[in-house]
Symmetry: C2
Subunit: 205 residues, 2 copies
């Protein structure tokens, strides 16, 4: 074994541990919130020695940015393809996208909420780096949805007075707000209400 | 001074202190979040001795319920009258209502957000009593707006296909979501987008 092999193995083990801390931490933060989750609690759940956190992350804030990016990647990987599946019409794709999350929330007993929405609400005023990262991620959500709305408009599926970019921003906001209502009402009604009003009143009439 | 006088003075001082803890605590929680705010920090800001918290509140959770009710009362007192001011049309009243909060957020540098939305997002899964209280408060917001939408419909100001109750729930959700976007983008755009789409695309076309 050469020095280079040694180094690359140690790098890879270290990188694996870092990714594990991010994934396990993300899950706890999704359930309990960012400020309510302790670093020691995450390390314990990972089986990683106490005190090794700062070997992987500069600060809890830097860890938070890594967790936000992790959430964003996971959301993009799981739900993103639904927006691009051309075997459905643009409007059907949009519906499938939101129904995917509705099904997830049903499995969670209408809890947890959107991890990005949660972090935005909790950390938007408390951390400059997190605020900037979350602002970009929210913009990314809007940019993922806007072309599908534009496609629906081009196909004559939705009202011609709709501005796709502005409407995409509004729909992402409305979805985050519907999820917020779901968290306190503990039922599907706010999500069902979102679907009905967006697809029957806002986009199509 | 009779025993009764004595008792009523001591009751009133105790009640004043309790109300002060709620008001000061509400302000800190609005800025920093519920889990991120310590009891000692609130007592210190009030000039109330350490350790006296549990004389006034059974638990931090019970205190949270009192804070949620305080926020709800304050919102109702300040913005509620705008919804009932008959010198404006129903649609104008709705716009005035949301502009009132927009002006508040502008003064706050697009920070803080809706205190009820913040608590709902942060505590909806973590405390049964807070979840139930916030569910009722969110329902109260919807019930405050719905009659104005119904009035606008009756006056022929908005589309006849709009269901006032469902639309009120959706608008409150969309507003909370727009505020969430405002917190990460740190600008008025999400709130302006809300106003344009609700009043130009959703209600009136």
């Amino acid at each position: 074994m050469t020095l280079l092999d040694d180094w690359s193995i140690s790098f890879s083990m270290s990188e694996d541990t870092k990714q594990k801390i991010i994934a396990v931490g993300a899950d706890i933060i999704h359930r309990k919130g960012f400020n309510n989750t302790g670093i020691q609690e995450i390390l314990k759940a990972c089986g990683v020695p106490k005190g090794s956190f700062y070997y992987y992350f500069e600060s809890k804030e830097a860890f938070g940015v890594a967790v936000a990016r992790y959430f964003s990647s996971r959301l993009g990987e799981t739900a993103g393809p639904l927006l691009r599946d051309k075997s459905y019409t643009p409007l059907e794709r949009l519906k499938n996208f939101f129904r995917f999350f509705r099904d997830y929330f049903e499995k969670q007993g209408w809890s947890r909420g959107c991890p990005i929405g949660n972090l935005a609400q909790e950390m938007g005023d408390l951390s400059g780096p997190l605020q900037l990262e979350l602002s970009q991620i929210v913009n990314g959500m809007v940019r993922a949805i806007a072309p599908v709305i534009r496609e629906a408009a081009d196909a004559g599926q939705i009202s011609g007075t709709i501005d796709p970019e502005r409407t995409a921003g509004f729909i992402v906001a409305s979805w985050h707000g519907a999820i917020l209502q779901m968290k306190v009402h503990k039922c599907s009604a706010p999500l069902d209400n979102f679907e009905q009003i967006v697809f029957e009143n806002l986009l199509v009439r």
